[in-house]
Symmetry: D2
Subunit: 382 residues, 4 copies
């Protein structure tokens, strides 16, 4: 069994919990799970044992209760979700500026107590994998291990950084665990954390789960590169109505996404192409089904100019939830192999900003092949 | 030097001839040439020595004269194009039903004389590579070598089949040559021709040069496959105003394209996905800048439905002309290596329906890597 | 009350019947009903009393039973639909070539008996409006009243023509009624029928209900006309998965749509602009939610070229069903005013090919204002 | 003759000057001029006599010199443009924050002298119409006539406000003139200016020339309104590479556009529909050919959801330049008719935020008909 703790009980967590239960009970197909049944761990091997949030409207509720509020036809929600309860997590201002009534465990019982009581919970639940899907937070890499220890002690880290540190403590003290960072906070891209995990005998995947327009854009750029078409410019707009877009409409959070995307274009193409790529707006009625619009102009042979337009309606949270079904299994596989620290081959496919620090972005096609090689499975088509 | 004969003096030939001369004289960048300067043969090693057509308005003209009619600013046309003259080629009804005044060499001097006088021309011009870019013609594979010999003797082949047979004679009698088939006629997909070329010590690439929406579609489908997204349906429309679209508005020619495209979807995805993919219409004012519209619907994780829309304005002929700059060099490399018959690794990237018969369509990403491996060059990014 | 008989129990009829019942019981808003509550007749004044079809799988069923098969959540279907039964209608080969098991009343009891028994049903049900929403059929205008009488007598008319003739008999013999022709068959565009209705004291609206891409295209062209932008070309593709698209994939039925659309471009723009506008394909998984792709190129000031691309996902049948809520009320209003024959002001807004014969297509904006004027209502915004 | 002074020698001015000269000499068609040859004034009646700018790289140059720098093929630029010279204009920080070396006449010779020397120039050039096409500036309405007089005296107005005041002085002192405000600065929407022009016997058109996506959006919304389709949300992105987009990337200038567009949606639809409509980004290689992407979601009959996507490549400046050919003629017609103050019927069609203050936005279709009525011409189609 792979025992999973979720941090951030938003839509991604919900779609993962509900989808996984349906998968386990053969209620749905495994669409959107890249490695499908090719891995030694099956869907039924995964079990979500706890979820953390600081939103007062969620703390104390079961996933079943939360799902009932969200989905139209409650009849379809697996009853097993009544067993997972949302516990109060670390806040450290991670929802500051957003319209939620939030209270962290450290505000209730003090920072030290909050941190250690959660680690104790993981211990008693025998957690293997911690998945971070909280809302985007503004944060800089720490850089050095000494400074990291210091700042953790003083409670001077963000919520994500604190959870990641806690999972490293847990790994070194009790049981090796994997921490999967699906938000832009630089953890697998922070040398301090990569070192910490290597030392702690833990696994760290990150950063920023690769869904939405970015992976498609890398593959379109790869397609153009392989024909030596010269990209003149790229404009890409994203608009959505979920909490992630709401949070990205705050400038200090939006900047986190820009950093993630900046290297991608030149890493793939081999030159700087003028681009405007960023989350653009929040429009509430779009809900979780976001709208992506893109134009790419390029020169073909003879310097003729071609234009490619893309419009995309995409369910935002389920896409990442599907990747989680792989990532928790890959986390367990890395633990089994004692592959401590971070694993570039996993990050390169599943993350927008793959760690360790200094890693380049490669096309997702390339990354998929490297991933299969790392795992040791063969694409059944070939 | 690589000495090239072109069959079919249409827009693709014109863009190839003009673009190549500009490349050789550093007047333009090599955008749209996939293998750029990674090959042992340089752009200046390629020389077009003759071109064939049956359109009375082209026969006897120089490429310079034809280019002057087509391009707006004649000042930019390299003067060296005055040296290439369009000769009367084999017709065999290849333009039947199209609004051109056409007369083939066999109509002037008889079939046997026509065939042998062209082979003699190739000999005296010391031709290395024959490129077939004539208009799409309706044709079935021959299948057996004996039947092929018989039908050639009786003049019972299409124009493309006849030229390909002639290049095999030339290869076996005078000098090994490569025949590059960029139209849908099954030549590299006809076992008779593959055998013929192996026996004749010639090289045959084909079939149907991979430009336009098809290669992008394969790569988009690969992108979806690698995320295990389930394709619900694909609709793809093409409309353009050049001769190729005009000819495809004749049902018996259009069917050639459908055959080419039918295997692609299931080869990539591993299952049959309902699709409507075909050249759809002729609209004269679009000229060579065709319009492609596409929708792909698929299921994401949790069986949520996403929709991807694509609109594309693409210069049709230059795209194929850019590939020719590689293909003639790869033809020469295959000859140098005595790799007779056909070369799947080349066909898989450059052709929509890669030979030999029975070959599967793979994504262009995959094909690009196989191609580089075959050539023995390394992608400088890695 | 307005008592309605429907001819052709397909998706349009179903959405009209279900939507109307929901409207009458305030279960939904009146979106998609252009004249909303501006008319003297209310939604609750409309009552569907009978429906006709020849598909064996529908004849004898109630609308409630048919709706249950089609909609996912049967709980929402108004129980009042159990009162409407599908009766066997006139066939006359209207489904020839389509994959339905069809049997017309004339095949059961003979032509004369079939015709008169239906008229009798209308009489006993006290019908006011007959709505024709059967599948597109191939048909030419009759032209002369004498020939029309003759051909009716001999059973030498199509199904639509026969029903329209029957409604005229009913009007002259029993009670003035309106016949609303929502398919391309030329009835309001056939002088014989316009004359017949005037003589019979009946009302005839038609032809070809104006939904889908055509009304949007007219208004986009009007927008360009009013800026004197010169349209270079228009390409428009439609693909869908309902019976209408299936039937239009038969060439002899498709031609009916081309005739409808041909005059539109030049009527609005005042000049011929090259265009490719037609239903393009059938792709079953799209179902009733069709996909429209369009490109319009035009010259702006200084002869600069602009390009407009449109992609549209549109529920095909509900759009027409919404118009029917107006049309049956307008039919009754025309009867009240004794406005016999046809009414251009109604046709110009609601129909793609507005009768009487020789009428020009005008923009829908213009038509909407003319319509309001004819009715005598004021747009509440002004 | 209509003698025109231009304020702001940017791309709009350049396309107007060049296009007008070409029109006068029959070198191009009058595409993009809505009222074409329907007006009593002909194209040859319009003469640009002077242009003002503060960019040091333009002041003192002829339009011919500026056009030579901009267009690829200088052979086509009418030589008559050598007669128009760019004079140093009023600056008042209108280019603050933008990367131009700017110096205003008031910085050279003092505010009072600058103002009166320009008015004197107009007098000696016998100017009829002043057209304001300078870069978007941040500005609030003044409101009261007394405050306006005071602020003009103290030099406490923006550049646009100052020019508009100067044209009013000119009108009252020398000769009635028209001021056409094509930028978002509220002038026709400032009661102080409307009153000032009425008193000064001048004509004021404004505000914010209606090109780009906004007029198309109003007409698409009108199309939906007339079918009672319920708009769920509208997202619209604009990205371009000209100075206007560069300036709108400065937040204090961008806000001017949001004000302009805010009222449009609810004025047309009659209810508030959630929307995200604004200039979104600056991407230099797009140049003057901007890219607009739009999605509109709406409910159809039966509360089915449809989705409309639009992508548009549009030459930004020529579109407005074409409208200017009408606006200067309409300015003269208003002067001839002594229609002092502002003219709603003109503003409603040509402006995004039509004055006088409190005017509602109507669809452009409606506005076009009102415009024709005001002028007294008939659409030749009807």
């Amino acid at each position: 069994m792979i025992r999973v703790a979720l941090v951030g009980q938003g839509l991604v967590a919900l779609h993962f919990e509900v989808g996984l239960e349906k998968l386990r009970h053969n209620m749905i197909s495994d669409y959107g799970v890249p490695l499908r049944n090719w891995l030694p761990y099956k869907y039924s091997d995964i079990e979500v044992v706890v979820s953390y949030d600081v939103d007062e409207s969620k703390v104390g509720k079961t996933i079943y209760e939360l799902a009932k509020k969200y989905y139209d036809s409650p009849g379809e929600i697996p009853g097993t979700l009544k067993d997972i309860v949302v516990k109060r997590g670390i806040h450290l201002n991670s929802l500051k500026g957003l319209p939620f009534k939030a209270r962290g465990r450290e505000e209730v019982e003090g920072y030290d107590s909050a941190v250690w009581s959660i680690i104790d919970e993981w211990k008693s639940l025998d957690v293997d994998v911690v998945v971070n899907v909280m809302t985007t937070e503004p944060v800089e890499p720490v850089g050095g291990l000494l400074e990291l220890h210091e700042r953790f002690k003083e409670g001077d880290l963000t919520a994500s950084q604190t959870y990641a540190y806690m999972a490293a403590i847990y790994s070194s003290k009790y049981k090796s665990a994997a921490f999967i960072n699906c938000i832009p906070s630089p953890l697998a891209n922070d040398q301090a954390y990569v070192d910490l995990y290597r030392e702690s005998r833990g696994v760290l995947f990150g950063d920023d789960g690769s869904t939405g327009a970015t992976p498609l854009t890398t593959d379109l750029l790869e397609h153009l590169y392989e024909r030596n078409r010269r990209v003149i410019d790229i404009a890409q707009f994203n608009i959505g109505g979920n909490t992630d877009f709401l949070s990205l409409s705050l400038p200090e959070r939006n900047v986190m996404k820009k950093i993630t995307k900046s290297a991608m274009v030149s890493d793939i193409l081999g030159y700087e192409a003028p681009n405007y790529i960023r989350p653009t707006g929040y429009l509430e009625p779009l809900g979780d089904k976001k709208f992506v619009a893109m134009i790419i102009e390029y020169y073909s042979f003879g310097e003729f100019k071609d234009e490619l337009y893309i419009a995309w309606r995409v369910n935002d949270s389920p896409a990442l939830a599907g990747l989680l079904v792989d990532l928790v299994r890959l986390g367990k596989i890395a633990l089994d192999r004692q592959h401590y620290g971070t694993v570039y081959e996993v990050n390169a496919f599943y993350m927008k900003k793959p760690g360790p620090p200094g890693s380049r972005v490669i096309s997702k096609y390339k990354a998929f092949q490297e991933l299969l090689k790392w795992i040791g499975v063969r694409d059944p088509r070939y």
